[in-house]
């Protein structure tokens, strides 16, 4: 699968969702716009996904989505409990989490899913891919973070390798 | 069921407007500029929520388009402002 195709199919779907009709003329215009934008894209170092690996990619992606959703819901409930507690039992701080992957895309996706769950937020990433994460409750996060990052890392490497 | 939903949605609309006012109070009385910027981000998120609620009340999809445009503008402008405050340039 070429990079242009890999770019223009999601763009085409976004175009269809925005315009919301499936007349042939609109489909043609959408395809032209999507291919045009993906030809104009800047140079990026993105992994190429082969046709035969597409089912594996989708399966790992769906599992990754469910894991992220579980993290988000757990984080939201624990943050709600902290906020509604009259004593405000917070123990904030910044901890270092090594992302464990060399690729920029893997680090960026890990940082995104960490920041998405309330209670943890990536403040900075250094060149070796260490994510400096601000947590509402340092002890809890530090206990869970290694396993969660290992799970994310294995799924991400299954998606992009 | 229908009337319960109607009453609920007006209550939800008023609650979101009130919360946007509270966030705007934090913009007015923040201890530093980044705290004010976080309040501005919260206020614009709640404004997007108000557009979504209006689209439910009027049963009209056009307000979701308005919400998409408002979301794009507010997220990009918040990121640009944060970068401007720390680096004194946008790009």
């Amino acid at each position: 699968m070429s990079h242009t195709l890999q770019f223009s199919v999601p763009l085409f779907l976004v175009y269809l969702a925005l315009t919301g009709n499936v007349e042939p003329a609109n489909l043609v215009v959408g395809a032209l716009v999507a291919v045009g934008i993906s030809l104009l894209r800047p140079k990026m170092d993105l992994p190429l996904i082969h046709w035969r690996r597409l089912p594996q990619f989708l399966w790992a992606g769906i599992r990754y989505l469910f894991i992220v959703a579980g993290d988000v819901i757990r984080g939201g409930l624990s943050t709600a409990r902290i906020v509604l507690d009259p004593n405000l039992p917070i123990n904030p701080g910044i901890i270092a989490i090594p992302s464990g992957t060399q690729s920029e895309l893997g680090t960026a996706l890990s940082a995104h899913s960490i920041s998405l769950s309330p209670g943890e937020m990536v403040v900075a990433i250094d060149d070796e891919g260490v994510m400096y994460t601000h947590c509402l409750n340092v002890d809890d996060s530090e206990r869970m973070v290694a396993d969660a990052q290992n799970l994310r890392k294995s799924l991400l490497s299954r998606m992009f390798e | 069921m229908k009337s319960l939903l109607d009453i609920t949605i007006w209550i939800v609309l008023i609650a979101h407007l009130f919360m946007a006012l509270v966030a705007a109070w934090r913009v007015w009385r923040g201890e530093n500029s980044l705290s004010r910027l976080a309040g501005l981000d919260l206020a614009s998120t709640l404004t997007i929520a108000v557009f979504v609620i209006i689209s439910i009340i009027r049963a009209n999809i056009i307000y979701i388009d308005v919400a998409i445009a408002a979301a794009a503008l507010s997220y990009i402008s918040t990121i640009a402002l944060a970068k401007y405050i720390s680096d004194h340039r946008v790009f």
Partner: protein
Amino acid sequence: METVLQLLAFLLLVLGTLFSLIGVIGFIRLPDVYTRLHATGKVSVFGLVFLLLAADILTPLATWKALLLIFFVLAASPAVAHAISSSAYRTGVPLVGKRDDLKGKLEVGQEKD
């Protein structure tokens, strides 16, 4: 079927508003910028997404647009939180709490305004 969908939309509206309310309360109560951003993230991740799911059910024809806006919000709100917090750390906003693994690793300037 209709009633079940309306009941689901009602629950989503109430839950979304409750989470937004908790987020705003946290935004007022928490002590510094970094901790406040956690509360802001809760408003956009739970409040806005639940409202959009309710709009998905109640507004005719809104299915794909609301899903697109959900995807967009989920993709953009961590970026906003990261931008504000990294900007705060680099302008030297003080941090509540003892542990700071990032100390001395970024050049920290003074805020000029």
